[in-house]
């Protein structure tokens, strides 16, 4: 029994929606984090709630990347695939690295399941898996055996099989089983019988690895080194919820959150609904328009008003967002993007709502737009969105996506005491109050809330006089107000810090990205820079206004690539703003970039070549 040291491992658990793969993956991720690895996870589940057992479309997967050095992505391709049934094998095998390790639950490879998965012959027998390290284990049987004599129903016994797989990989990677056993017991305090059973099966899996001589090696991935501090594992939607709670606190105000359920935004509402004792008021509205409306009403009343949705719901909010822009009320709008258009790919990730965020309203209706780059970053973006909305009296759009919303990473906990406050002050002084009189620096109007004696006034969606706020159809006033609303957004640039640039301020290739692609882009840049390539990566947090730092450097590179999970929406803005012949690296597959894809695209630009003609509407540079 020898031990092999590895720098990093990518493992994917795949099975039926009912097989509990998400739980298995999450638990194994905890163990890796506990062991001090850096980790990144990527849950990938079907749109169906619980598709019929054994069906191809019902396969649910969870990929975990754990490493002894810093990582930013869940990994391009799994080194290890745990396949709980034929459908899981069929849909995931193509991603496994050649010579990768396969752990297969042979118990599920029965005629019926093979047929459902569209296998003519049993892949375990037809040699089609020869190039992989295959471990065929009858997990079904071994699970039953482990629970022999338990008073649980056979159905319930079968349910425990994912813990066998979990135990097995615990052993393979030399994880400490004790704390996992503790966690299982805790999770099932309400149903101790199940807890017992799961622990039994978990141990059985662990010992199977130990005893069955098929597993000759234990792999060890040493701990990574981190910034000293306190850490927790967090998903994007958990972090964004925390950010809103803290943001409201830093503003010294109460949080009001209204939403209408939609994948992948719903879980934010679910988290906040649990934070009632923090004074957060959540409201499940009848639709997205009502959710936006309620947020506007709450903002008018002086709350930190937030609403969230995904693409289709944001489309519905457009008209009401325009009202918030016209009446200059602070509302934070979260768009947890998913694949579009229309209903599109509800459970897949994409960055195709940027244009909608920038332009998806009638009239000249500019609004600030920022995007989060990672699960943990959503926390800070949420706080920043609250700050800008209240300071500039404007609705703010914060973009996240399904990938960072559901993905998790170890997150260094901030010291709350050190976060700068931005307490809101509501004007109460009636002496020469004008509804649309503006602050010199921010151009914001005063946030006067109902209940303030002597400041009674009326606002609305019709154009208003630049000073009094009364209805005005005057031509010059409209031009003035339109320009002020635009200028106000530009002024936000004064709040934006340094551009996040990796690599030199000049060079051969500049890769520009935004949002959830950060990890893959940054890792690709690091790889190429390590090879001495003149490659830089600028990652934008603010798209409206555009990060001021970009103007200083963008002309210093031979080539500019705008990399996004859409057809070139940021690229359009970059080209129009800087007249730079930026090419696009675009992927529209409902999946994040792989580091390899980015590296190849950059290398293509490094070899001198005619850049694509730009005389036609931007055509993106497709990737293999």
């Amino acid at each position: 029994m020898d031990t092999k040291h590895l720098d990093r491992v990518v493992i994917r658990f795949a099975g039926d929606s009912g097989d509990g793969m998400q739980l298995t993956g999450t638990e194994f991720a905890k163990a890796a984090a506990e062991a001090g690895n850096d980790i990144s996870t990527f849950p990938d589940f079907p749109a169906e709630i619980r598709a019929p057992a054994g069906s191809l479309f019902g396969v649910s997967g969870f990929q975990l990347h754990f490493s002894s050095s810093e990582i930013h992505t869940p990994g391009d391709a799994p080194d290890v695939l745990v396949a709980m049934n034929p459908a899981a094998l069929k849909t995931n095998l193509k991603d496994l690295v050649d010579t990768g390790t396969l752990i297969i639950n042979t118990g599920a490879f029965i005629e019926a399941n093979l047929k459902k998965a569209g296998y003519a012959a049993n892949p375990l027998e037809d040699g089609s898996l020869d190039k992989y390290k295959v471990h065929a284990v009858d997990i079904n049987h071994l699970t039953m055996a482990a629970l022999d004599g338990s008073e649980l129903s056979n159905k319930d016994k079968g349910r425990a099989k994912n813990f066998f797989a979990l135990g097995l990989v615990f052993w393979m990677y030399g994880r400490e089983p004790e704390s996992e056993i503790r966690r299982i017991h805790q999770q099932f305090t309400k149903k101790p019988a199940f807890g017992e059973a799961n622990v039994k099966v978990f141990k059985a899996g662990y010992h199977y690895g130990e005893t069955a001589e098929v597993f000759q090696t234990v792999y060890k991935v040493p701990a990574a080194t981190f910034q000293p501090g306190m850490y927790r594992n967090i998903t994007g939607n958990e972090a964004i919820a925390l950010g809103l709670i803290i943001g409201a606190e830093l503003a010294g105000k109460k949080l009001f959150y209204s939403g209408y359920p939609i994948t992948p935004a719903s879980s934010i509402l679910h988290s906040l609904a649990k934070y009632k004792n923090f004074g957060a008021l959540t409201f499940q509205a009848e639709d997205e328009i009502a959710a936006m409306g309620a947020a506007i009403g709450a903002a008018y009343g002086g709350s930190i008003a937030v609403t969230a949705s995904s693409g289709p719901g944001i489309a519905l909010k457009g008209e009401a967002i325009g009202l918030a822009i016209m009446t200059e009320l602070p509302v934070v709008v979260l768009n947890i993007q998913r694949g579009g258009p229309s209903t599109g790919l509800p459970t897949k990730t994409e960055q195709s709502d940027l244009s909608q965020a920038l332009y998806g309203r009638n009239g000249e209706a500019p609004m600030p737009v920022l995007a989060a780059r990672s699960p943990g970053d959503t926390f800070y973006c949420a706080i920043e969105a609250v700050k800008i909305a209240t300071r500039y009296m404007v609705p703010v759009m914060l973009l996240s996506d399904g990938y960072i919303a559901n993905g998790s990473e170890p997150w260094q906990l901030p010291n709350l005491a050190t976060l700068p406050r931005f307490d809101v002050i509501h004007r109460t002084d009636p002496s020469n109050y004008f509804v649309y009189a503006r602050d010199q620096r921010t151009l914001a109007r005063a946030w006067v809330t109902p209940g303030t004696p002597g400041l009674e006034h009326r606002i609305g969606g019709i154009e208003k006089d630049a000073l009094t706020g009364n209805i005005s159809y005057a031509p010059d006033n409209h031009e003035k107000q339109t320009r002020v609303r635009a200028e106000k957004i530009q002024r936000i640039a004064q709040e934006i810090g340094e551009l996040d640039l990796a690599g030199g301020e000049s060079g051969d290739v500049l890769v520009i990205g935004w949002g959830g692609t950060y990890g893959a882009l940054r890792q690709a840049q690091q790889q190429l820079a390590a090879q001495g390539k003149q490659v830089s990566h600028a990652h934008l947090r603010w798209i409206s206004p555009l990060e001021p730092g970009l103007a200083k450097i963008i002309k210093n590179y031979k080539r500019v690539i705008v990399a996004e999970l859409n057809m070139g929406q940021l690229r359009q803005v970059i080209r129009a703003t800087f007249l730079v012949d930026a090419v696009g690296l675009n992927k529209i597959q409902g999946l994040p970039f792989k580091v390899r894809e980015v590296v190849e695209a950059i290398e293509n630009q490094l070899v001198p070549q005619p850049t694509e003609s730009t005389a036609v509407a931007p055509k993106p540079l497709a990737i293999a």
């Binding site: 009001f256 923090f278 009848e286 328009i289 409306g293 506007i296 709450a298 901030p414 004696p453 009674e456």
Partner: protein
Amino acid sequence: MSEAIKIKLSKKDLESDQDVRWCPGCGDYAILATVQRTLAQIGVKRENTVFISGIGCSSRFPYYMNTYGFHTIHGRAPAIASGLKVTRPDLDVWVITGDGDGLSIGGNHMIHALRRNMDLKIILFNNQIYGLTKGQYSPTSAPGTRAPSTPTGSIDHPLNPISLALGAGATFIARAVDTDAKLMGTILQEAYTHKGAVFIEMLQNCPVFNDGVWDGVKGDPVGKQITLVDGKPLVFAGGTKGIKLGPGLVPQIVDVGNGPGQTPPSEILVHTERGSGLYAHLLAQLAQPEFPIPMGVLYRNDKPTYGELAIQQIDDAIARQGKGDLDKLMYSGMVWEVGADGTRH
């Protein structure tokens, strides 16, 4: 609603400095005047009073009130008002809407605000027409209404606003016509004291696009309306006629009296504001031309409001878990420390 300390107010105090922009003769003027007068009589705090409207002639209303006001977008006022009221229970929130704003584009927000028993006072100006867009028929227009978009007459069956409000769950339902300042005033007084979703249908005349639609409903003595009095029988035409429930649950008009062919007063239905839902539906179904139309407070029912319950849940949570501790919240879940050596401890 804010506890109304009696400060002496006059109607003037509730008039804003804006020119009123309705057409000469519009029924909206009378409703505006009555609201201003009544709020003055009640002695509301202007700063704690908010009028929220959608879009339409009627929705211009807030500009003319010397209170807080929000002229929002078409059909969304009930949603916006809900967000304000649940976060600011100290305010009196009035919603002004029209038959198009509140029942066409805004129908869904309307029924959900009523269903939740939001503590809002909703006044729907029903002129059976889209005024601001120059006279198209609305969801309350009589079948066959000839309008620019229906030159040969409208073909859809109108909604009965009272039935809809009742079905949705409003807890205070009333009706008055714009020419009856006295009744409007009484209703507004009652509505002000009600905790929960108030729905008032104001029958309003649009002299420009739908002149005289309500002429048929004016006047109790002439038997065109029943003025409702809690605990009093459903009689009209100077008490000579009344409503009784006939076989098959069909309301009937009868002559009241003990003479031959007359119905004894004992058999006449008695108005009960807090009556059964079914009784309220009976009132809602009394409509022209067969029946005189009931005016006044049709229905009342005391239920906890959404806002009360929402705040209760927060208070309970705090009582149960204690006031939220932000650090605890941040440190919840699996937390670990990385030491100076950069590795986990």
